[in-house]
């Protein structure tokens, strides 16, 4: 057991210390974070004060005040009218009214304000064309028109206009607030045994992301194991190792060590994803995107299914690696194993469309498909606990069988060079003492 630990340590450290791992683990989430955060950062950075000169041709005396009031009431639910203000950016709009008399030269005025805006990015202007409340088409002129906070201005104008229209129809403020009160749909998920739980808004997205993550990580880390075995075999390090360690210990140490590398990477990603969501969640929500609500139990299942799936496939990949002499040979030899892993990716649509059908249940019990398909069913429908446990039990039994077979093939394979063994030869290897 101590020897297995020594091997686990080597396999782990040697991979974690590589530049590729550092880049893959730390830089890539940072990069993703930057990719999402930077535009938001720059868009909201504006902040500060923005002077808006309102060139008012509307002839509506109350409109300007209504807009100003609406802008000032941001975040105050009682004053809000049919809107959910994002609060993106802390831009303060300072509105000044410039009433345009009917006879004035609008073009000259616009040129004047445009020049001002050109010199000073914080100086902008809004044109309210004549036409009254019913035909209002406000125009906003600014150096930067991709500023997220412009949405705030737009909604404020909308609220002001709707408010004035309702008032004109004879409603008082209290009635208006009552009638336009926003309604929210609460989604509750029916769980096993008839219970009810929160969430379920983004089940499909979560299910797909988890399916994909398990598939990718099992494939990538499984192939790492195979490559590791081939490296030791090709460079004849095994010859030095076998006089110190049993081949089974070598194989288990390698599989576990690389698995821990995978868990480390997933862990780092999970933490950074968590940070990303806590930092970015308000931003996303304000823009109408609901972040999926992922229950802890789902994350636990994810880790369990990743570990089981990885163990199953890594063992098979280790076995394949021990029977070949080069990476080129391995490309061919690993196809059957990889195909087993790919099948769920091809049929997952069927499962997600009808996750409780007999065929879906049966497929999610097949040990080679369970890591992906059962995971997906858990994310979508909360299958009965016995099904989840059964699939785990079947997987564990299969893993034990595979470890037994792989270990016997491995111990012979790592010392055999040259021709790839046939299936009959592999069968004979199983019986060697």
């Amino acid at each position: 057991m101590k020897k297995v630990l020594i091997i686990i340590k080597r396999e782990y450290l040697v991979r974690v210390r590589t530049r590729a791992f550092m880049i893959g683990t730390i830089v890539s989430p940072l990069f993703m974070l930057a990719l999402i955060a930077l535009p938001i950062f720059f868009a909201t950075r504006g902040g500060g004060d923005r002077r808006v000169a309102v060139l008012d041709q509307s002839g509506e005396p109350d409109l300007f005040d209504a807009i100003r009031k609406s802008l000032a009431s941001r975040g105050n639910p009682d004053e809000e009218l049919n809107r959910r203000d994002p609060g993106v950016g802390s831009t303060n709009y300072a509105l000044t009214r410039r009433v345009v008399a009917p006879g004035e030269d609008m073009n000259a005025l616009q040129t004047e304000y445009s020049q001002k805006a050109d010199k000073d990015p914080d100086s902008t202007y809004l044109i309210l064309r004549p036409g009254g409340l019913d035909k209002i088409e406000p125009e906003y002129y600014a150096k930067n028109t991709s500023d997220f906070s412009i949405g705030t201005l737009e909604r404020a104008i909308n609220d002001a206009v709707s408010g004035l229209r309702l008032k004109r129809a004879g409603l008082d403020q209290a009635t208006i607030s009552l009638y336009t009160k926003r309604v929210e749909l609460t989604r509750k998920k029916v769980t096993a045994g008839g219970g009810v739980s929160e969430g379920g808004r983004a089940d499909f997205v979560v299910a797909f992301v988890m399916l994909f993550f398990i598939y990718m990580s099992v494939l990538i880390y499984g192939l790492f194991v195979m490559r590791g075995v081939i490296e030791e075999k090709q460079s004849r390090i095994v010859e030095l190792l076998v006089s110190s360690v049993r081949p089974t210990q070598m194989m288990l140490g390698k599989v576990i060590g690389i698995g821990l590398v995978g868990l480390t990477q997933i862990g780092v990603w999970a933490v950074s994803a968590l940070l990303l969501t806590t930092v970015g969640v308000s931003t996303f929500e304000s823009r109408g995107m609901r972040m999926p609500n992922i229950p802890i139990s789902l994350l636990v299942y994810f880790v369990v299914f990743f570990v089981l799936g990885y163990f199953l496939y890594a063992t098979l990949y280790a076995m394949v690696g021990s029977t070949v002499s080069s990476e080129e040979e391995a490309q061919q030899a690993q196809i059957p194993v990889t195909l087993l892993l790919v099948v769920p990716m091809v049929i997952f649509n069927m499962i997600i469309a009808n996750p409780t059908s007999t065929s879906s249940i049966a497929l999610s019990m097949v040990p080679f498909f369970a890591p992906t398909l059962m995971m997906m069913r858990i994310a979508v429908v909360n299958p009965p606990l016995w099904q989840i446990l059964l699939s785990m039990a079947i997987m564990i039994a299969t893993i034990l069988l595979c470890v037994w077979i792989a270990a016997r093939i491995y111990r012979v394979g790592i010392l055999m060079y040259g021709k790839r063994p046939s299936i009959t030869e592999l069968g004979r290897w199983l019986r060697y003492s």
Binding site: I7, V14, T18, E239, L240, S243, S433
Partner: protein, 307 residues
């Protein structure tokens, strides 16, 4: 005391019999030469001693115990085909190999420094194998097989690919280990090296023993039937009736005589033929000669009595 013993050991792979009823003993504190042509069963025998394979029949005893994982820390094995992790520093690899043999990390790094210094590799401790020459890698592999201070060492072609200076360095290390009471099983195709350092030898072919015993005794068994002669002139005087085998080297000739042939007769004929003889010596056959003759079945001396 015998440190390693094989008793009537047989190992089969399917229909192929790699080792057949093989027996030999290795005495403590000696260097034992395990010889044989390619495919004779040397590696299979060694793998049974280091507990990689189990014998189908017979017993393999190390320090009077059947081989088991518990014995592995006492055995050091330098395989013929060997390698290092490409992406791991030399020092780290050696500590890793020592750890696997049960040496703790502090002690292991102390020993690594000591060995690297001894084999003149100290500057390479933090380099990766790809930065080292093949010879240097060989020396590192040697260290990996002795880092845990084993009682029994099995060295398969330890000198291959080394320059003469390194060969000498390593040879002295091996002789020093022997001095300290370590037992060494040495496998090679370089017969001169065997003659230089081995006490006992065992020659196997097709999985069975052909020849075994003390090196001196084995050679004596073949008798002084070889003439080393340095001469100038034609070699037509060497008639078939006297000479069984003739190796003409640039500086001298090695002449293996027929059974019962008289060496003096060779000298007489040479002089009669007008050759100038600078050196004439009657010696035991070289191990190389014994090896070739034993393996090709042309041995002139029966070795049946000794077995």
């Amino acid at each position: 005391m015998n440190v390693v013993e094989l008793k009537h050991v047989t190992k089969r792979f399917d229909q192929f019999v790699a080792v057949k009823d093989l027996s030999f003993e290795v005495r403590q504190g000696t260097i034992f030469g395990l010889l044989g042509p390619n495919g004779a069963g040397k590696t299979t025998s060694i793998r049974m001693i280091v507990n990689i394979f189990a014998p189908d029949e017979g017993d393999v005893l190390v320090m009077s115990k059947h081989v088991s994982p518990e014995l592995q820390p006492h055995i050091g094995y330098l395989p013929e085909e060997r390698g290092l992790y490409k992406k791991m520093k030399i020092g780290d690899q050696l500590v890793f190999f020592a750890n696997l043999k049960g040496v703790n990390s502090t002690e292991a790094s102390r020993r690594v420094d000591e060995w690297l210094k001894r084999l003149e590799l100290s500057d390479w401790k933090n380099k990766k194998p790809t930065d080292l020459s093949k010879g240097m890698q060989q020396k590192v592999q040697f260290i990996a097989s002795v880092i845990h201070d084993p009682d029994v060492m099995i060295l398969d072609e330890p000198f291959s690919g080394l320059d003469p200076v390194s060969v000498n360095l390593l040879k002295n290390v091996i002789l020093d280990l022997k001095q300290r009471g370590k037992t060494i099983i040495f496998s090679t195709h370089q017969m001169e090296q065997v003659e230089q350092i081995c006490d006992d030898i065992c020659l196997i072919n097709h999985g069975t023993q052909v020849l075994s015993g003390g090196l001196k005794e084995v050679k004596r068994r073949f008798g002084k039937n070889t003439v080393i002669m340095d001469y100038e002139g034609p070699d037509s005087f060497l008639g078939d009736d006297l000479v069984k085998h003739h190796n003409r080297f640039p500086n001298y000739s090695e002449i293996l005589l027929n059974d019962g042939a008289d060496a003096q007769e060779v000298l007489k004929r040479a002089l009669a033929a007008g050759a100038r003889v600078n050196r004439f010596e009657l010696v035991e056959p070289s191990l190389n000669e014994i090896f070739i003759e034993s393996v090709t079945g042309k041995a002139s001396v029966s070795n049946g009595g000794e077995r």
